[in-house]
Symmetry: C2
């Protein structure tokens, strides 16, 4: 069992309650990564119906999770259809809801027969061994999660405030070499540095209010390429878009989130 | 009271239950428009806490609504914070859940003090009087909703299958001249023709699985400009992105949805 499987595992307690443990190995600073917490809730949701691939999963982050502590996932099935199962989950720790999720799941290995017409091509970035290891120093915070995922950033964008654009791209994989699955893509969608950091410098922790991931294909084994950008920052709230491709160049997920910029280092001279 | 206010009104029955009536005036074909149904649920959610502007609202469409029939909205407050209220709602008709919603609401009139850095400029399209009235004929279905909203499409994109790109833009306003508010933006985000129709022709009804709208600013009075595009159609599921601007040129909302393409008219020679 991979680290990711073991540390996002849920155990069924009743029809609607699951127990889990939030590891401290997936932290951004002192808080568990949001995509990691979401993966725990999704592990429960994908056991509720016949469909296991999250084609649309929205998570609202109500409060930070607590690392190294027990958690409970409360689930509700909203509809089990022929091709789509929709369900919701609340992840609770110490009696307080940490996140609320709603997801539609399908079977991405079951083709519809409708011809493809459009896709988003993977951007040309250098291969992983020519990229730069993601470092917490650049973002101004500790990143224990780097013990669990390898992140190699496109070098031109890897220095805070030097990219001249709110754009980050690079490669990501599970640190123990386990192949990525649809659930890992939800984690990967939330594991890169905030794309604002290329423009604004060390923006610190940018808490997500809400994150939506659309998984488009089950990924091939190997590295996953991610590209993220922010083109809309207003009143301290930013909308960040991103996409993930597998090593074959296939688009495997899209993501969008609304996050909070708590301060602007560049504006205060920091 | 505007048509939109009157026909999305909810009446509190208990702390968690609201009664409503789904009008037949907002139909796409024989089904109530999804953005219209979402607005009914949002009317209830915005009364649960001190925050009334939906900065992030995600709706999963479980089953089509029934026009001309009563509805019930069941709500749950997830968290009331200092700056954000998060809540969920289920819209039920005839004992069956039609949509599930989760929303974070804030006060868009209360500035954060953090300087803006990035926005998306409104695209240059002709003014409304030089655009083309949206017609159901082009999409191959009746559009009763056109009695309630005026939609003027950029002429170059207004003919099915002739645009050469999956892109639609134009202007929208409430049909009775009422000024738009944050709630109307959620409706407007789902009221344009599917952007796929410029590329593929008459695609018919493209049911939304999930729609997320981020309201960015309260809109000024007047027309709202909308631009929508699809760059990812795989296995019968399309991801459509869009944005809305008010007449001052300010970005007022972003949207993304995952929808189902039920058939491809062009592929079958239709």
């Amino acid at each position: 069992m991979s680290w990711f499987e073991a540390e996002t595992a849920v155990e069924r307690v009743t029809d609607v309650r699951w127990s889990a443990h939030v590891s401290g190995h997936w932290n951004i600073g002192t808080n568990p990564n949001g995509g990691y917490l979401a993966a725990i809730a999704l592990r429960a949701l994908r056991q509720l119906g016949p469909h296991t691939d999250p084609i649309s999963v929205t998570t609202h982050f109500l409060r930070p999770g607590t690392a190294g502590a027990a958690a409970e996932v409360i689930t509700e099935v909203l509809r089990v259809g022929r091709t789509i199962t929709t369900a919701r989950a609340t992840l609770v720790q110490d009696g307080r809801a940490r996140l609320e999720m709603i997801a539609s799941l399908a079977d991405l290995a079951s083709p519809s027969g409708i011809e493809d017409a459009l896709t988003i091509a993977a951007p040309p970035i250098p291969p992983p061994d020519q990229c730069v290891l993601r470092s917490g120093v650049e973002q101004g915070i500790d990143l224990p999660i780097l013990d669990r995922v390898d992140i190699m950033l496109d070098g031109e964008q890897a220095t805070a405030g030097q990219a001249g654009a709110a754009e980050v791209s690079g490669w990501i994989r599970l640190g123990d070499g386990a192949p990525p699955d649809a659930l890992a893509l939800v984690l990967f969608a939330d594991a890169f540095p905030p794309s604002l950091f290329g423009l604004l410098g060390n923006v610190g922790w940018v808490p997500s209010v809400e994150l939506t991931v659309h998984v488009r294909r089950r990924p091939a084994a190997g590295w996953i390429l991610g590209q993220f950008s922010t083109s809309d920052l207003h009143d301290g709230r930013m909308i960040e878009d991103g996409a993930l491709w597998d090593e074959s160049g296939a688009l495997v997920a899209q993501m969008r989130q609304i996050g909070l910029l708590l301060s602007r280092a560049d504006a205060s001279g920091g």
